[in-house]
Symmetry: C2
DNA sequence: CTTATATTTCAAGTTTTATTGAAATATGGA
DNA sequence: TCCATATTTCAATAAAACTTGAAATATAAG
């Protein structure tokens, strides 16, 4: 992941509707859910849901697939993993676990 | 970390100036750097640097300390760790390493 | 007390992002 | 073909975030 994609992905995660879409889709599992179902779940109008789903798909957080008239969206876990890796690599100098990153012993005080 | 703080922290990381401030301060180590040095490093005017440093400090990403006329800022690694934990907990159902989160085997395909 | 340095705060303007509702596109069935 | 459903796209507006430069605050030194 490069800086441009990291910025876009952090931006995608910084909106409450999109963060709730992500949480909903994580719960809903591997088949994904339709744009309509997602919109209802997060209480967004169709066009608003579509707008946020497009943003999340552009950054790579979600992947979409049309099945007949419906479009299914699901989480791209690799994208989340890549973001975490980017954050840990750049912010914790290569330590690659949450534990070593967050250990107070490593935090200068 | 709650949803509100996660949103604010993702927002703090979604701006290129702030992301570069974070990277700079990670490199610069535990004593921190002054607002002036940080501003020069990321090519921001004093007021712009101050604005972004305030945003980052409010979310908990940075901590500040005045020493005489200067204000030193440094990274709060716990904040980054908490954010990663929030992301992994909510997005990967409790698996707490990057590896298990991102393993394609767990990704339904 | 005055001046200089470091930083923040404020108000104004600009840019970006988000919302809304209507219209357009895509698919499937009668 | 015509109609219904699902979703997206578009244009207009609204809201939030960012930038700028000037003024204010805080600290220190002469």
């Amino acid at each position: 992941m490069d800086e441009f994609n990291a910025l876009a992905t952090f931006g995608a995660l910084s909106n409450v509707t999109r963060l709730r879409i992500l949480k909903y889709l994580v719960r809903m599992g591997c088949n994904g859910k339709t744009a309509g179902e997602i919109g209802k779940a997060v209480e967004a109008t169709p066009s608003r849901a579509s707008f946020h789903l497009a943003t999340m798909t552009e950054t790579g957080l979600l992947v979409s697939e049309r099945r007949s008239r419906e479009i299914f969206y699901k989480v791209n876990f690799n994208s989340i993993g890549n973001l975490v890796h980017y954050l840990i690599h750049d912010c914790c100098k290569g330590n690659n676990t949450v534990q070593s990153c967050c250990n107070p012993k490593d935090n200068c005080e």
